[in-house]
């Protein structure tokens, strides 16, 4: 391969010359230690290279080795349960090679070479197969059946097909194609900056259930949709991201820790193997892929990490799975862009971010979606993308938030004020939104109940009324409200405390199924309806508020998932107690 020479080093940016046949985004290795880098700019006969490792010790005259290939990831069995850095080096392998600290210049393939997988073919000799067709399966974990697909751009007749134990580099299938025989292994490679092909993109229609009440009931995300979670530090972004990774009803979770804390990744690594997935009964780690490029790891690899993550997500989508991808935090990714752009001496846009920030963000989020996968069986897969944003000072007008809002359909606005009051998750119900409510209405009717959406809307309007009324209370005191208005305030309080607030660290409260969410909101709204009726009959407010059933409503979050009867009893209690107050008041 071509060999060039370094002429300048400035932090993570290295400028070299003597690479006439290399192309933009080709991977190169620099210096004697062969540090990995990527060409990001070419001027005349010089090339600017962003290096994924610390560049101390490099100098002019050191060699550059080109690979002639763009930055790619290895896709195949062995992805699940892995933890990678931003350029798909497995961190556990790095630890085994270089100890507790990450040394430079260590290369390790993304997929283990020595491990053998049990391959069961699903095609036979003489079958015609094309791009995306499944040729066999590998049971990767108890819950993930890894489907081995014909790589993009390949089409032909099965000439030979194997069965049994193979590692990822051994040939399991030979296709006779127009351009000669093609050997297929369990593994394929794909350049990360390019989306994987699909047959057709569809609009999302099914909710992605996360078990978090404020999300699922009030601001739902659809499978194949996009959401962003902006919030100042300390408002609980990371806990929400972790909760979604734990409880979302996706088949595959890809979690990208992009420029965040090392201990948070450790937390995931230690906790996920212990936690049990409520849908499959297996440890959560058995469906999870982690990409961790913490804040102190090289900044160029941070830039690459989101692409590595989404390419892995696309690969599982192509198998027909529902994938949920989380990027925590996209602001750190944008900062990596800014840092590299500054080193390239590009003309800055807003707040020093490069002018192409918006385009890059949009390109990333657009790789989400519900699709008909490539392949003749027309299977359906989806990627839902949830990106957290860390706006400086919690200021939502900054460029990363604004550019993100232009592309995402769900906005969960976190507020530190709520966090101080220990209202968790601290998602502000007044400024958050979801544009999927109409799309998933049909699915809600089928999965939950016909009146779920109307109950949700009613509850929402009560919260809205509360915010108006509390303005008045703040100015002239609670006495100025009418009794009917007081009931609205009380119901709103009940919605906030008994429904929206959810304790991620309480074993019964951490996850709530959609059905239970429906029952919970239903009793709250039923109480409200009955209370309004009682008021109309002249029952004093105090008596309504003292109804014992209110205690039961407050504790509803701790009721067992299966205990439907408890909610039925509450409905009956509400009817009885609110009509009995009427009797009492007459007496």
């Amino acid at each position: 391969m071509e060999q060039g020479v370094i002429i300048k080093v400035s932090g993570p940016l290295v400028i070299g010359e003597g690479l006439p046949t290399s192309r933009m985004y080709d991977v190169v290795h620099v210096g004697e230690e062969r540090l990995m880098g990527e060409i990001i700019e070419m001027r005349g006969n010089t090339a600017s290279i962003q290096v994924y490792e610390e560049t101390t010790g490099l100098g002019p005259g050191d060699p550059i080795y080109s690979t002639g290939e763009p930055l790619s990831v290895e896709l195949g069995p062995g992805l699940i349960e892995s933890i990678y850095d931003g350029v798909q080096r497995p961190l556990d392998v790095l630890q085994a090679r270089s100890g507790d600290f990450i040394a430079r210049g260590v290369e390790a393939p993304g997929l283990p070479r020595d491990k053998e997988w049990a391959f069961t073919p699903t095609v036979s000799v003489n079958d015609e197969v094309g791009e995306g067709d499944i040729i066999g399966t590998v049971p990767e974990t108890p819950i993930v059946e890894h489907k081995i697909m014909v790589p993009p751009g390949v089409k032909g007749t099965v000439k030979r097909i194997e069965s049994g134990a193979y590692n990822v580099t051994e040939t399991v299938c030979v296709l006779a194609t127009d351009s000669g025989d093609v050997e297929l292994t369990l593994m394929q490679r794909w350049p990360v900056r390019k989306g994987r092909p699909r047959a057709k993109k569809l609009a999302p229609v099914k909710p992605l259930t996360t078990g978090q009440r404020v999300i699922d009931t009030f601001f739902p995300l659809a499978k194949g949709g996009t959401a962003c979670v902006p919030g100042p530090f300390g408002s609980g972004k990371t806990v929400i991201q972790h909760q979604i990774s734990k409880w979302a009803d996706a088949q595959i979770i890809v979690f990208i820790g992009c420029g965040e804390r090392g201990n948070e990744m450790t937390d995931v690594l230690l906790e996920f193997p212990e936690l049990i997935d409520p849908y499959s009964g297996e440890p959560l780690m058995k469906r999870t892929v982690l990409v961790a490029n913490t804040s102190n790891m090289p900044v160029a690899a941070r830039e690459a990490s989101v692409y590595t993550g989404i390419t892995i997500a696309e690969y599982f989508r192509d198998m027909g799975y529902a994938v949920a991808l989380q990027a925590d935090s996209t602001s750190r990714w944008a900062e990596a862009l800014r840092e590299i752009s500054g080193r390239l001496e590009e003309m800055p846009g807003e707040e020093g971010y490069p002018a192409y920030l918006g385009t890059r963000l949009a390109e990333f989020y657009e790789r989400s979606g519900r699709v008909i996968c490539a392949g003749s069986d027309k299977r359906e897969g989806s990627i839902s993308v949830i990106g957290s944003v860390s706006p400086p000072g919690g200021d939502l007008s900054e460029p990363v938030v604004q550019n993100t809002l232009r592309v995402v359909k769900v906005f969960w606005g976190l507020e530190d004020r709520l966090a101080y009051e220990r209202h968790f998750p601290s998602i502000n119900w007044l400024n958050s939104y979801s544009l999927y409510l109409d799309r998933i209405e049909a699915a809600w009717t089928e999965l939950v109940a016909r009146d779920f959406k109307s109950l949700r809307n009613e509850a929402m309007s009560i919260l809205q009324r509360e915010s108006e009324l509390s303005e008045i209370v703040r100015l002239v005191g609670i006495e100025s409200l009418s009794v009917a208005e007081r009931i609205i305030m009380e119901t709103a309080k009940s919605i906030r405390e008994d429904f929206l607030q959810q304790n991620a660290f309480h074993e019964a409260d951490t996850f709530t199924s959609l059905k239970k969410q429906y029952r919970m909101i239903k009793v709250i709204m039923h109480f409200h309806a009955k209370a309004v009726e009682a008021i109309a009959r002249g029952v004093p407010l105090k008596q309504i508020l003292e109804a014992p059933v209110r205690d039961a409503i407050a504790r509803a979050k701790f009721i067992d998932e299966k205990d439907e009867a408890a909610f039925e009893k509450m409905m009956i209690d509400i009817d009885e107690q609110l009509s009995s107050t009427e009797v009492k008041s007459r007496a």
Binding site: G11, G59, F101, F233, N263, T266, D267, G352, G393
Partner: protein, 461 residues
Amino acid sequence: MPKEYMTTRDIVGPLLLVEQVEDVKYGELVELEFPDGTRALGNVLEVSKDAALVQSFEGSRGSNPGQTKVKFLGRSLELGVSRDILGRVFDGLGRPSDGGPKIIPDKKLSIYGEPINPTARDYPDDFIQTGISAIDGLNPLVRGQKLPIFSGSGLPHQQLAAQIARQSRVLGVQAEFAVVFAAMGITFEEADFFISEFRETEAVERAVMFINLADDPAVERIATPRMALTAAEYLAFDLDMHVLVILTDMTYYCEALREVSAARKEVPGRRGYPGYLYTDLATIYERAGRIRGKHGSITQIPILSMPEDDKTHPIPDLTGYITEGQIILSRDLHRKGIYPPISILPSLSRLKEKGIGEGKTREDHSGLSNQLFAAYARGIEAKELAVILGEAALSETDKSFAAFADQFEAEYISQSDREDRTIEETLFLGWKLLAKLPRSELKRVRDEHVEKYMSEVEVAG
């Protein structure tokens, strides 16, 4: 023998552009000799075919283009470490400044360190009892955490940091500990406070100090915290000690960084700070934690003064995004004469959930702290309401919460800087204060805990 150059072309602030250099590497250590014979250390910030941009850690006063000697040393800035660094005082570049003998190093370590592999980390979950209720009860510190103190000028952050250093211990465990102290740009008096504080408590022989004072070269500060953390990593992961690192004041560190960035004419981010401030701070703060299979740990308490007490200023803001929580000091509480003036509501310890509870502190700790938070928040709100509408407008319940908030500040938050409360005392105090509130309002504590611990309060009368 390293080559000497006298080919400096430009001198801008702390930066020197040296021409016609050969075989210079990025990040290399540089020795400068100015015409008057003074020497300074520097490092290479950028290198191209025939020129190197050198940052002098000790300023450029007295240098000139033609007569300054520049020597590239072929290694990066290192710190020589051995067990003997304990009890010693160094300057901001790691040279002994206490008049003692030179350190004979066990090994020499690059001060830039390497990132800890996330798979090698162990999650910090050993509760550290600091003896301060506002921390132990509500925002507990755990071993391996990085928990900064956000302060402002005139607030007693030094007393607080010194008290934490003095009183911290892990319940039921005896282990070797050490304190590493890095001063960046603080005054002599402030540094002296810590030194005499350590002396007084005989912690001095367990302490390693790196001192860069306000009148020392500003650019030296860029190296100081890295010196300290290199020493801390050696003590923690080579010698199995539990190390508490105090870094003060991070604001001056960031300003030094801005100075260099401005001299390089880089595109500034917010408020003139460089766009890579987050990444740079992360390479400091992330050098904390525990490693599986190693006995030692690094717990970091950076102190930073918020310009104009503004939490959204880039320095506290970016710090808060990297560290695992923050302890915020409040000027209002300080004015009320409350020490430590910890502003409870915006303070946070992210690692608390795993460090407290049964087997760590006590089963009721988590619920109790949430209840105290919520009750205090409600009390503050009620008091604000009373200011607008008058006390008469408050409901009975609100009145009890307002009274709770006052009492909470006076009895729970407030304590003397010599008072070392056990965690049991802190928890008891919490229940005692909650006893004054209507029991139906205590929604965040479990009933069985109320039964069990409230009765203790009643017994105690």
